[in-house]
Amino acid sequence: MSNRMINLLVPAIAVILGLLVGAIVMLVSGYDPVAGYIALWQGIFGDSYAIGETIRQITPYILAGLAVAFAFRTGLFNIGVEGQLIVGWFAAVYVGAAFDLPKVIHLPLSILAGAAAGALWAFLPGLLKAKMKIHEVIVTIMMNYIALHVVNALIKTWSGGGDKTDRILESASLRSEFLSSLTDYSRLHYGILVALLMVVVMWFILEKTTTGFELKAVGFNEHASEYAGMKIGKNIILSMVISGAFAGLAGAMEGLGTFGNMYTRGGFTGIGFDGIAVALLGANTPLGVIFGAVLFGSLKYGALNMPNAAQIPEEVVQIVIALVIFFVACGYAIRLFLTKISKKKEAK
């Protein structure tokens, strides 16, 4: 079996295995797996509206995945994508609602505000790591809670005790009549283009610039990088800032595209944490992140249809989705299995 064949087979087998085990779970729980999967399929690809909503859902996953992957490629664990996303969301909505500017200025400015807020939120853990060797995992986790509650408080203050911000002005919106009408009036917006552009940006920084060369070198071996004259602290901070900017953009997409405002939250969005899995599924490469985000986004969105169309309770649906992702993450074991089989065949 050629390597290429195996590369194609592994994800396919993983998804099938996940669906099979998921089917068993549904059967055991007394539900009809066939109906369940038809509902899932319909939820993702059933009509143009579903497709539009699925793509919309994929958008923040791509950006959150890029944020985690970028930090990871440079030797850092950014567990704070969730918090950076929340501050990015708020900052984008604030700029989008508080100023009145022509669209060519207002929209980019609002997007940049989101990116800048995320970058700033990641700058602090980067600085602490660079200057005092404080582990970024601890700081970023704690920064998530700070982000959540600070933003909630800001929303309350801004709205005079309410639970949501003002709506952004039309001039700051990513909404697209064109995309929306194309997909039966779904909430699909231009954010997907921003996300895909960022995939290219990440690839470009890592593979085409001296900055990327330094970031990767520092991530792999600080000592050798220092020996080669690179500034370790600068690179750690820069890596966190770029990662945080991607995360902030994910929030901006939600604020300027999907929702148009921001509500106070009882808990996290979950997108930032799912970004960790997206990045790992995609082997931390820019293209891989798209694959991971498509898988996550479509399953998450499509699953919403399962309770309605097949009367499968939310909890069981969650288990089924988790199983599919679990098996994809186990791709390594499947690969090992396939290699063994093909070796045995060769021996014969």
């Binding site: 085409k208 070198a217 071996n221 050798a224 020996y227 004259g229």
Partner: protein, 518 residues
């Protein structure tokens, strides 16, 4: 002739790779049998088979004439086979006795009975003349003493066949001669020894017979008395090897490096370099001889900007570079072959081509306006790979996949190609085999001949003696003497390195004092 161990036609495969191809090694009772081979020749694999860590695919092992199946290290222990590892397996803050009984503690009413063990250790130490204090903590005793603790550990467990894995790698010349005495004493007491090494002089000094392996194949076994280092070397590498690298007299010109009153502290704030002065001129190789830990690492880190110095000045071509950033220092004309090539020299997960570009990627033609040109980097890397005989599949192969010698050649190529005025080579041949050592020494001398200054730091006395034009002896953070290789010998150097003055060294040599006290 009675054999205590016979390893007959041992074959060990890892997938498609044959690490041991029908190797035979027979150890006579009461002999020191050297096992000689280059790095990666299969010495460790063969010993791991004997120690039960690997199961051979073919061949048989006989211990005292009886065919045995050594399925794990416990079986080896029961058969009386003990291993003195190259990297000591000792717990630093335990005493010698505690380390020896570790995993096998004698108990009395449920608690560990240290005192009876300590008594037994003391007896063994006396019997074999090891002179080890059973109650000393490992962290407080010298490397030589730690090694003796390792030897005691095998003896305590009843070993009468001892395997020494590269035992002299980290010892001073005096400790080496003491170790040789200990090995002879062990033989006199009825033990048998397998000595793994790639140092030829040691084999000539101590062994009775030598088995040579090359690329996994047994080349043969010879009587030490009937061979010489040249023959052994050619058996080991498969071609003629020159030991003493040919070089003409040095022609030193203007001063390149000047160090005045340099003081450097280690990470714990302990001064390691204390008011050191040193000067190196163009066209000469200055060797720093000294025992590990006398400030060599800190000195080099201070010169290359990896560590801040407390006081003093470092000048390159008259320009003060004290406490400047590493990039500025390398750009002022310093090339640096670092002591630890895995830690400082290479990004192991990068392709070897990227690694060769590690010191030049930031300037044209390798990058322009922040955009990197990997094509240009790889092209240069290919040139260096060809010119410095780096055996690799190409610039895209990960640095990790290369052997130590080839990694080192790539680093040397990278540093020399930058055309530095001063080339610092720290332990450039550590862990390498004779072929690679020869290559590297030749390159260093070439640099000198082309008018560069070379600073060589080494723990290997023969390397310092062979390659340097001047030898600066470092002891406790300062240069205590400078000698010419033609006017000194290993004995005198060894004593200088231990902190004796030249007069005291001469006196000791005259009195024929061999048992130098630490």
């Amino acid at each position: 002739m009675e054999y205590v161990i016979e390893m007959l036609n041992i074959r060990k495969e890892f997938g498609n790779f044959v690490a041991n191809d029908n190797i035979t090694l027979q150890l006579r009772k009461g002999e020191i049998h050297a096992l000689l081979g280059e790095n990666g020749a299969g010495k460790s694999t063969l010993m791991n088979v004997l120690f039960g860590l690997y199961q051979p695919e073919g061949g048989e092992i006989r211990v005292r004439g009886k065919k045995v199946d050594i399925t794990d290290p416990n079986v080896a222990n029961e058969l009386g086979i003990g291993m003195v590892h190259q990297h000591f397996m000792l717990v630093e803050n335990f005493t010698v006795t505690e380390n020896i009984i570790l995993g096998n503690e004698p108990t009395k009413n449920g608690s560990v009975n240290i005192s009876s063990a300590a008594k037994k250790v003391a007896e063994l130490s006396k019997q074999y003349g090891l002179n080890v204090d059973p109650n000393a903590k490992i962290e407080d005793i010298s490397v030589g003493m730690q090694q003796r603790a390792e030897i005691l550990k095998t003896l305590y467990r009843g070993a009468d066949i001892l395997i020494f894995d590269e035992p002299t790698a980290s010892l001073t010349p005096q400790e080496i001669s003491e170790l040789i005495g200990i090995m002879k004493k062990l033989i006199a007491e009825g033990k048998s020894i397998i000595l793994i090494t790639h140092k030829l002089q040691e084999i000539m000094d101590v062994s009775d017979r030598v088995t040579v392996i090359r690329k996994g194949k047994g080349i043969g076994t010879v009587e030490t008395s009937e061979t010489d280092p040249e023959q052994l070397a050619s058996m080991m590498v498969g071609r003629q090897v020159t030991f003493k690298t040919e070089k003409g007299p040095a022609d030193p010109k203007e001063e390149v490096l000047k160090i005045e009153g340099l003081t450097v502290e280690d990470s714990r704030g302990v001064p390691k370099v204390k008011g050191l002065n040193l000067s190196i001129r163009k066209g000469e190789i200055v060797g720093i001889a000294g025992i590990d830990g006398n400030g060599q690492s800190e000195l080099i880190e201070a010169i290359t900007g990896l560590r801040k110095s407390k006081s003093g000045n470092i000048l390159i071509n008259g320009k003060d570079i004290t406490n400047r950033k590493p990039r500025e220092i390398t750009n002022s004309g310093i090339g640096h072959i670092p002591q630890d090539r895995h830690k400082h020299g290479l990004v192991l997960d990068f392709p070897i081509g990227h690694n060769i570009g590690l010191q030049t990627y930031f300037r044209p033609p390798y990058s322009k306006g922040g955009i990197i040109n990997y094509t240009a980097i790889d092209k240069k890397a290919e040139e260096i790979i060809a010119q410095y005989d780096v055996r690799t599949q190409g610039p895209h192969e990960p640095a990790r996949a290369l052997s130590g010698g080839n990694q080192q050649k790539a680093i040397i190529g990278r540093e020399v190609e930058r055309d530095p005025d001063l080339l610092i080579a720290a332990l450039p041949t550590r862990g390498l085999d004779v072929g690679a050592i020869e290559f590297i020494h030749r390159r260093l001398i070439e640099q000198r001949d082309s008018g560069k200054a070379v600073l060589l730091v080494s723990f290997e006395l023969d390397e310092v003696m062979n390659v340097s034009d001047r030898i600066a002896v470092i002891y406790d953070g300062s240069i205590i003497d400078t000698v010419l290789p033609s006017e000194t010998d290993e004995q005198e150097l060894g004593l200088l390195m231990a902190g004796h003055s030249r007069e005291a060294a001469a006196r000791q040599a005259e009195e024929g004092v061999n048992n130098h006290v630490e």
